[in-house]
Subunit: 525 residues, 2 copies
C-alpha cells in the first residue's frame, strides 16, 4: 500500500468510523454470537500473496462487527465506561504516524517533553498537591492501565522498605539474603472492595496480600481504624505491611476510603507506601466540588486515575503521579551500554523508562493534549457533571418503585447499585410509595431465619433479573457481590448518554422483575 | 467535535500523515532541539475553553515536528527498527473507533477471537512447533513489549517452581513461609548480552539474577556448556536457577544462543523455564532459510518476538507464545465477582487477562491481521530479505576499507557491528586491501602493553566517530560495548531503506574517521 492508496483507504475508513458513531445508539449493545463464532469465518493461515484493501475492509462488516460489544453505546452501562472521543482518535493517528519505541529522550524528545508538560496540566486540572508536579521531586507519567500502575508502585514500595531496612549494607550475597528475608515477611494491603489489581500485583511482586474491611456501616469505605487494625494484626504475626492501595471510587460501588483519616495515620506508619487508586472516579476531580478529596494526597506517595475511563481519552491512558520520582528510579533504572547517551547521562532529561516496567513507550500524550484542548476545562467539567446527574436521575427512578427495587448505594460518580425484591405473585400493579410488601411478608413469618431467607431470595431474584437484561443484549449491565449482597450496578457515562436511555433501562428492569417473578422460596414460577 | 467535524479533521490529518511519509527521507533523522525546548512553547495549564481543531493541528508543526526523531526514515539505523505501515495504521484507526477495555470474552468477543486466530497464523508463519498453537495446550497472546513478556514468563516460572516444590501442601501461613524461603533462593539467568529486560524482570519479581557468559570465541552466543556451568555454580551456593532467557538475536550484535544445545540441556534441568526472546530477529523466521532455528523451541516453555520491530506492525505488538497456557493461568488468574460471567465460567472462551499482567486490552490483533493480509507471506519475506541483503552490502563496504574499519560481527539479520581504527596521521589516502597499518605500527612498538593500548585507542576513536555522526543528525546510529570493545551498530530495516543510504552512511563514517584523526595516544589532533 503506497501513500496515495493509503490516502484513499484511510479516508474511506474515516467515513466508516463516523458512520459507526452516528448509528451507535441503534445497535444492540451486546453481540449475539456464540463462543468460537469467528474462526470458521477465516482461513486457517495467512494468505501467500497480499490482498487488496477493499477485500480486507469488507471483512470488518462480515467478521468483526457481529462480534463487537459497543462500549461507546449509550446503552452500555456495565463495568465502568471506556470513553473514546474524536480528538483522542486524531491523537492516536498522529502517534501511529510518528511510530517510535520512545524509551529515552533522544528517541524522540517531543514524546518525553510533551508528556511531562501535559501530565503537569492534568495534575493542576485535578488540583493535586504541588508535590506531584514535575518542577519539584515528583511528576506524572502515562502508563497503560491501573493494574500496571499498581504493580509499578507496589514493587517500588517493596524495594524502598528493603533499602530503608538494609541502609548502607555493602552489595553482595549477604545483602541479598537479608533482602530475601525481609521480602518474605512483607504484606501488601488493600480494601476488601479494592480492584483485584492489588492482589495480582502482590502475586507478581511475590509478597503476601491482606484485605482491610470496608463494611456496610461505613458505606463500604476503609476508615483509618480498620487500616490500623489490619496493620497491627499483621505485625503481631511477625509480618510487615509495606503498601496500601487506598481506593477513590471502588469497583463495586464507587466507595471512597477515608483519605483524610488515613493521611493522619501516615505519621504512625512512615514506611507504609500509600497509593491512591482513583481509576474511574478520579476524572471527577476536574470539578471543584470534588477537589477536597485531593488535599490528603499530600500525605501519600502516589496516585493514579484512568483518563481512558471517564475523561474521553482513548484506551489506554492511566495517569500515574508520584511525589518522589526517585522512589521509582531507584527500583527501575538500569542502563545498559546501548542505552547510554550524553543527554541521559547529563541528567538534564527525563527517561520515563526508569519510571516503569516496559522499556518502549508510545506517544500517548498527544491524545491527552488534543482532548484537553478540544474540550477545555469547562467542557470536561460539563461532561462529568452530566453523568453525575444521570446517576441521580436513575436513583430517583429506582426510589419511585420501592416495591421492586432496593437501593444498596446511592448515586456516586454516576454509579447506582441496587437489588431486586422478590415480590409475591400478582403484585405487579403495586403502586409506588407503599411500604415494602415482600420484606414485610417475610418478617410476618416469624420463622427464625426469615430474614436470612429473604436476603437469599433477594440475591437470587437480582441475579435472575440481571441475567435476563444482559441476555436480551439491548443494555449491558454488571453485577457484583458486596458483603454478601448480590447487586446490579448501573453507570451510564458515555458521550451519547441521555436521560431517555436511563428511563429505558429502568423500564426494562421493572418489566424483567415483574415477569417471571420469584416466589418466596426462591423458585421461579 | 461532532462526527462531521471529525470527518473533515481526520481527512486533513490523513493528508498530513501521507505527506510526512512522502518527505521522510529529506528530513534530518535526529532533531536539533535542546532538552527543555518544548515547555516554553506551551501555556502552563490546559485552556479553560475548548479550542478549534485548526489551532490544535497547527501546533503539530510548531511544537511537535521539531522534536521528533524520525524512526521511519531510511537514515534511522540505530537500536533496532520500529516499523510502521499503512495497513497497521488502518488497523489502529479501527481499534480506536471500537475502543474498549476488552478484558474478557464478553467485553468484545471479536477482540479475543481474532487474536487467537491471528496468533495461530503467526505461529504457523514462523514455523513454531505445533505445541504453541491454540488447539492444544498452548497458544499466543499479543502483549506490549518484550520487557512485559519477559516479566510475565519469569514470574510464571517463579510460581511454577514453587508449586512443584510445595506440591499439595495446604494453603495458609506455613505454606506462604515456605514459598518465601524458596523464592529467596531463586536465580533468573540470561546471557551477558541478553536485553536488560531480564535483569529488570528479576528485580520486579524479587529474585536474583546472574548472567551467563557469551564470549567472543562463540561469537557472543551462550552455549549449553556455559549455561550448565552457571547453573552448577549457583547450585553450589545453595541457590536455585529457575528461569533462563535464551536470546535469538542479541541487542548488541544479533547473536543467537545455541538453542539446539540448550534444548538438550532441558532434560537435565526439567524445572528450568526457558524463554526465547527473539524480539528483533524473530521476524526473520518468516523466511524458510531461518526456520531451522524454530525446531528447538519444542523443548522450551515460551517464545516472543516483536512484530512492531521488523514486521511492519505499529508499536506496540509483541507476540508471546507459550507451550502450556495453564502455566500462565495458574499465576495470573484472579476472578472477582464483577468479572464473573457465564461464558468465562463455562471455560469455553479464552480470557486473555489471565495470561498477562494488566486487566484491560486493546484490539491489537486488527493491525496484525491487516498487515498479514496486505503483504501476504511472500511480501513479508521479501521485506525481510531486502534488509538482510542491505546488511551484507554494508558489510562489504566496510571490508573494502580495512584501513579504516574493523568488523566485529558480520551482517546478522541486517545488523553489522564494527570499530574504527586509530590511523596514524596522513594516512587518509591509504588504499583498500592493504594490511592494517595502524595495528601493525602498534605491534612494532614491542612495548609490553602495546596491544592493550591499541584496543583502548580503537575504543576511543570509535566513540569519537560515533558521536560525530550522531551530532550531525543526518544519520542515527547506536554504539554498544561488547566484551570490552566499544562498537558501532548499523542496521537499516525500514520500508524506505535502500543501498544508496548505506553508501551514504558509509561515506560519512569514512569522512568522520579520516578527519580529526586520533593519534596513537588517544588524543584528537
Amino acid at each position: 500500500m503506497d501513500s496515495s492508496q493509503f490516502r484513499e483507504a484511510a479516508k474511506g475508513a474515516i467515513d466508516e468510523i463516523a458512520n459507526y458513531y452516528d448509528t451507535l445508539a441503534e445497535r444492540p449493545v451486546l453481540p449475539s454470537v456464540a463462543p468460537g463464532y469467528l474462526r470458521p469465518l477465516l482461513p486457517a493461515s495467512a494468505p501467500e500473496e497480499g490482498e487488496s484493501w477493499d477485500k480486507i475492509q469488507s471483512d470488518i462488516d462480515r467478521v468483526i462487527m457481529p462480534g463487537l460489544t459497543h462500549w461507546q453505546s449509550p446503552k452500555f452501562m456495565a463495568f465502568f465506561p471506556c470513553n473514546s472521543s474524536f480528538p483522542a482518535m486524531l491523537g492516536d493517528m498522529y502517534s501511529g504516524a510518528f511510530n517510535a519505541a520512545a524509551f529515552n529522550w533522544i528517541c524522540s524528545p517531543a514524546v518525553t517533553e510533551l508528556e511531562t508538560v501535559v501530565m503537569d496540566w492534568v495534575a493542576k486540572l485535578i488540583a493535586l498537591p504541588d508535590a506531584y508536579l514535575s518542577n519539584g521531586e515528583g511528576g506524572g507519567i502515562i502508563q497503560g492501565t491501573a493494574s500496571e500502575v499498581v504493580l509499578t508502585s507496589l514493587v517500588a514500595a517493596r524495594e524502598r522498605i528493603i533499602r530503608r531496612r538494609l541502609g548502607n549494607m555493602p552489595e553482595g550475597e549477604e545483602k541479598m539474603d537479608k533482602a530475601a528475608d525481609i521480602r518474605g515477611k512483607l504484606v501488601a494491603l488493600g480494601s476488601e472492595h479494592a480492584h483485584s489489581s492489588t492482589q495480582k500485583a502482590a502475586i507478581i511482586a511475590g509478597t503476601r496480600f491482606r484485605t482491610v474491611a470496608g463494611p456496610k456501616d461505613t458505606n463500604y469505605s476503609v476508615i483509618a481504624a480498620s487500616l490500623r487494625k489490619t496493620i497491627e494484626e499483621c505485625r503481631a504475626k511477625g509480618l510487615e505491611p509495606f503498601y496500601f492501595t487506598a481506593t477513590l471510587g471502588s469497583t463495586g460501588t464507587c466507595a471512597v476510603d477515608d483519605l483524610a483519616g488515613i493521611a493522619e495515620l501516615t505519621k504512625e506508619y512512615p514506611d507504609l507506601w500509600i497509593h491512591v487508586d482513583a481509576a474511574y472516579a478520579g476524572s471527577a476531580l476536574v470539578c471543584p466540588e470534588y477537589q477536597h478529596l485531593c488535599k490528603p494526597m499530600a500525605a501519600f506517595d502516589s496516585f493514579n486515575f484512568n483518563l481512558h475511563k471517564w475523561l474521553l481519552v482513548n484506551f489506554d491512558c492511566s495517569a500515574f503521579f508520584v511525589k518522589k520520582r526517585k522512589d521509582l528510579m531507584d527500583t527501575y533504572s538500569i542502563t545498559p551500554s546501548y542505552l547510554r547517551n550524553p543527554h541521559s547521562e547529563s541528567g538534564t532529561v527525563t527517561d520515563y523508562r526508569d519510571w516503569q516496567i516496559p522499556l518502549g513507550r508510545r506517544f500517548r500524550s498527544l491524545k491527552v493534549w488534543f482532548v484537553l484542548r478540544s474540550y477545555g476545562v469547562n467542557g470536561l467539567r460539563a461532561f462529568i457533571r452530566k453523568h453525575v446527574k444521570l446517576g441521580e436521575y436513575f436513583h430517583e427512578l429506582l426510589e419511585s418503585r420501592p416495591d421492586v427495587f432496593s437501593v444498596v448505594t446511592k448515586a456516586a460518580f454516576g454509579l447506582v447499585t441496587f437489588q431486586i425484591k422478590p415480590m409475591p405473585p400478582n403484585t405487579s400493579t403495586t403502586s409506588a410509595n407503599q411500604p415494602d410488601p415482600s420484606h414485610e411478608a417475610y418478617l410476618n413469618d416469624f420463622t427464625p431465619n426469615a430474614d436470612a431467607q429473604y436476603q437469599e431470595d433477594v440475591n437470587q431474584k437480582t441475579k435472575e433479573v440481571y441475567e435476563k437484561i444482559n441476555s436480551k443484549g439491548d443494555f449491558f449491565l454488571t453485577s457484583s457481590v458486596i458483603c454478601g449482597q448480590y447487586i446490579i450496578r448501573v453507570v451510564s457515562a458515555t458521550l451519547q448518554s441521555e436521560e431517555k436511555y436511563m428511563k429505558q433501562v429502568f423500564e426494562a428492569l421493572v418489566e424483567a422483575a415483574e415477569k417471571g417473578q420469584v416466589k418466596g422460596n426462591g423458585k421461579a414460577i
